[in-house]
């Protein structure tokens, strides 16, 4: 009888944990869901060679379109690609771009880091921290968000390098 009771308790606990877990995902912000999208292999291969595979949901479709149309002049570097790759990336990025309220407006220079939501979320970070050798630039997400490459930007996992 004790065994059965214990088993039932375990099952209830397990179910509760699962419920909590899924609830967290289901009720998270729109951006949380967008960041967990598995990157297109081509996106990981071509774009994530130089920077974090920024989640497509962090920019509106018109920003992605402008970026993809200007790859030979990509924030001061030549990121040019063959036409077939450009087409594939363009389709995936615009299809998965952010459409929810806070991402709807294109940020200045189509930079994720100049978005109002980005600045608000990072307003506790001291200006000097961005300049530390282990950080270098606000574009270097994984300097502080260790799981950024996997699309995890949860603030509880943030470790700012000293």
């Amino acid at each position: 009888m004790m065994m059965t009771l214990r088993t039932v308790t375990c099952r209830v606990l397990l179910a509760f944990t699962v419920l909590l877990g899924s609830g967290h995902i289901a009720h998270a912000d729109g951006d949380q869901r967008a960041t967990h999208l598995p990157p297109l292999p081509k996106y990981r291969q071509e774009c994530a060679s130089c920077h974090v595979a920024y989640p497509p949901g962090m920019l509106p479709p018109e920003s992605w379109q402008r970026l993809i149309d200007n790859l030979p002049r990509h924030f001061g570097t030549d990121a040019s690609l063959d036409a077939a790759s450009v087409k594939e990336l363009s389709a995936w990025l615009t299809a998965n771009a952010g459409t929810y309220k806070r991402v709807r407006a294109a940020p200045p220079e189509d930079r994720i880091t100049t978005s109002a939501w980005f600045e608000r979320k990072h307003d506790e970070v001291p200006a000097a921290a961005w300049k530390r050798p282990g950080v270098k630039s606000p574009a270097n997400c994984s300097a502080c968000h260790a799981q950024a490459q996997q699309g995890d930007f949860n603030e509880h996992n943030v470790r700012i390098p000293r």
Binding site: S49, C50, H51, V52, P72, F75, G76, T77, D78, A79, S80, L81, D82, G134, V135, K136, S137, A139, N140, S142, A143
Partner: protein, 135 residues
């Protein structure tokens, strides 16, 4: 320069170009270097390659800005800080193993560093230097 020599030389360059464009998949670093050398029509120089790699060419970045002066270990992207795995093929088997990928990165990075594409001779020089770096 005799006419037959010129014909032979342009034929060799043509052949090398065809070879390079056909090496779209797997290729060994030595094969890529041979193709670039044939296209250049003169032997590769590791010293020239090292000089090209480590010096600035009137622009903000040199090759070393991201790959390090001795690219036998990981570097870091000068703009984004993202780690870049070792470039010397003896330290990273994925480097110079694919002709199309090699061409893509030479095109982009030479444009960033020199403001133009690299010549076949320059590519042969750089690759010949990288191939001298051994564990």
């Amino acid at each position: 320069m005799s006419r037959s020599y010129r014909i032979r030389r342009s034929f060799a360059a043509l052949l090398a170009g065809m070879l390079l464009s056909q090496l779209t998949h797997a290729a060994a670093p030595s094969e890529l270097q041979a193709a670039y050398t044939a296209q250049a029509g003169s032997p590769a120089s590791p010293d020239r390659g090292q000089a090209l790699f480590t010096t600035h060419h009137g622009r903000e970045w040199s090759c070393s800005s991201c790959h390090g002066t001795l690219p036998i270990r990981a570097g870091s992207h000068a703009g984004t800080g993202k780690p870049i795995a070792a470039l010397a093929p003896a330290f990273n088997a994925e480097r110079f193993a694919d002709a199309a990928k090699t061409e893509k990165w030479f095109r982009r990075n030479c444009n960033d560093v020199l403001g133009r594409e690299c010549t076949a001779a320059e590519k042969a020089d750089v690759l010949s230097w990288l191939r001298t770096l051994k564990p």
